[in-house]
């Protein structure tokens, strides 16, 4: 067990927590939050594996991938939130399935 492994493990924990919340939550804001947590987990794993030789400079390729990934996930977050606001304005809904109906829907 060394430092990169430790962070990589944190990354997969975050990913699993994110995927869990993404599927069982209904509120759209919560799902977008969960998506971001999933993303953080993946990025943490990528950066951790780039840093596997202690002392040496880390591998720059995963860093570049993570920078790209962050921008992509921000684009999705922003577009998703705008769409959510529009849906709320138009239909009054904040979830694809009515949250009053059941707590454990399985939209995904």
């Amino acid at each position: 067990m060394n430092q990169p492994t430790w962070y990589a493990l944190t990354g997969v924990i975050l990913f699993s927590m994110g995927i869990h919340a993404f599927v069982i939550r209904t509120h759209l804001v919560r799902r977008i939050l969960a998506f971001n947590i999933m993303g953080s987990g993946v990025f943490l794993l990528l950066v951790a594996i780039a840093h596997r030789i202690p002392g040496a400079a880390p591998d720059p390729v995963p860093h570049a991938l993570v920078l790209t990934g962050i921008v992509v996930s921000v684009s999705f977050t922003a577009f998703g939130l705008v769409l959510l606001k529009k849906i709320y304005a138009k239909t009054g809904k904040t979830a694809l399935i009515d949250p009053t109906e059941s707590t454990s829907d399985q939209t995904n």
Binding site: A8, V12, I49, D59, T68, K86, E101, Q106
Partner: protein, 270 residues
């Protein structure tokens, strides 16, 4: 949970049972006993276990492509390995990524309804003077920071995305303080500023493709200056895209007609 109690949502929620037969009925039953949820929790735990095992099993030491990047740094035109990967070795990824941002802003613009200034801080609200002060002090600092990040991207942490984000933060302040009337921006200027980065990137790519017969292969002596050109224009466009994502949203006002529109189409039957 912001559950909406307004009467207008009633029709939407009463619709479900009508269309729920077959699979949806099973789904409701499963929800009642919580079976699906338990099964899903187990699945996630299983996934977590597999991922743990995976991570512990990964090769403990690996330099990745570090050596390869290092070997080609001298022809990349920049001094920072990450910038070299982003804009030279994997520049195609970055080109597509600029398009991702542009598309997100287009998606956002599609959803706008009517011109309206950002309602967050109307003139005369308490707190306005704080914002005014921030604008006077922070905007020059932010512009300076963005410029520094852009310049530093060549050899130190920083680059087009970080600079663009700082520019966007400055734009947010202006929008919040009603200094920038987003909705008054002429359409052509809006479109040009959003797509400027992509246009420059594509132009550079086309020109170098004609010169070197290879997509995005910079002529060796010009790599540095071309990358800088791309970075400057991309940073500006990223700033504009991010401001659009923030300020170009639809104003949230419910209209009575909205709920009728909701009924104008059907969900599929399952």
């Amino acid at each position: 949970m912001t559950s909406n109690k307004s009467p207008t949502t009633e029709p939407a929620s009463t619709r479900r049972p009508k269309s729920s037969s077959g699979a949806a009925g099973v789904r409701e039953f499963a929800a009642e006993i919580g079976f699906a949820r338990v099964a899903f929790n187990l699945l996630v735990v299983l996934l977590l276990g597999l991922l743990f095992w995976t991570v512990l099993d990964l090769p403990p030491q690996s330099a990745g492509l570090h050596a390869k990047v290092k070997a080609h740094m001298h022809v990349s035109g920049v001094a920072s390995p990450i910038t070299a990967v982003l804009l030279n070795f994997r520049g195609y990824d970055t080109l597509l990524e600029i398009v991702v941002l542009l598309l997100a802003s287009i998606g956002c613009l599609i959803l706008r309804d009517a011109p309206q200034s950002h309602p967050a801080l109307a003139p005369g609200r308490p707190g306005k003077w704080v914002l005014d002060g921030m604008i006077h002090v922070l905007i020059p600092v932010m512009l300076l920071t963005a410029g520094y990040l852009l310049w530093a991207g060549d050899h130190a942490p920083g680059g087009a995305f970080q600079a663009g984000a700082v520019l966007a933060a400055a734009g947010f302040l202006l929008v919040l303080g009603n200094r920038m009337r987003f909705w008054r921006t002429p359409e052509w200027l809006l479109r040009l500023s959003l797509s400027f980065g992509m246009i420059v990137f594509v132009l550079v790519a086309s020109v170098v493709t004609i010169l070197t017969k290879n997509l995005l292969q910079y002529p060796e002596n010009y790599a540095g200056i071309l990358i800088l050109l791309i970075e400057i224009s991309v940073a500006g466009s990223i700033g504009c895209v991010l401001i659009t994502l923030f300020a170009g949203h639809p104003p949230v006002t419910r209209t009575p007609a909205a709920d009728q529109l909701w009924h104008s189409n059907d969900e599929p039957k399952e």
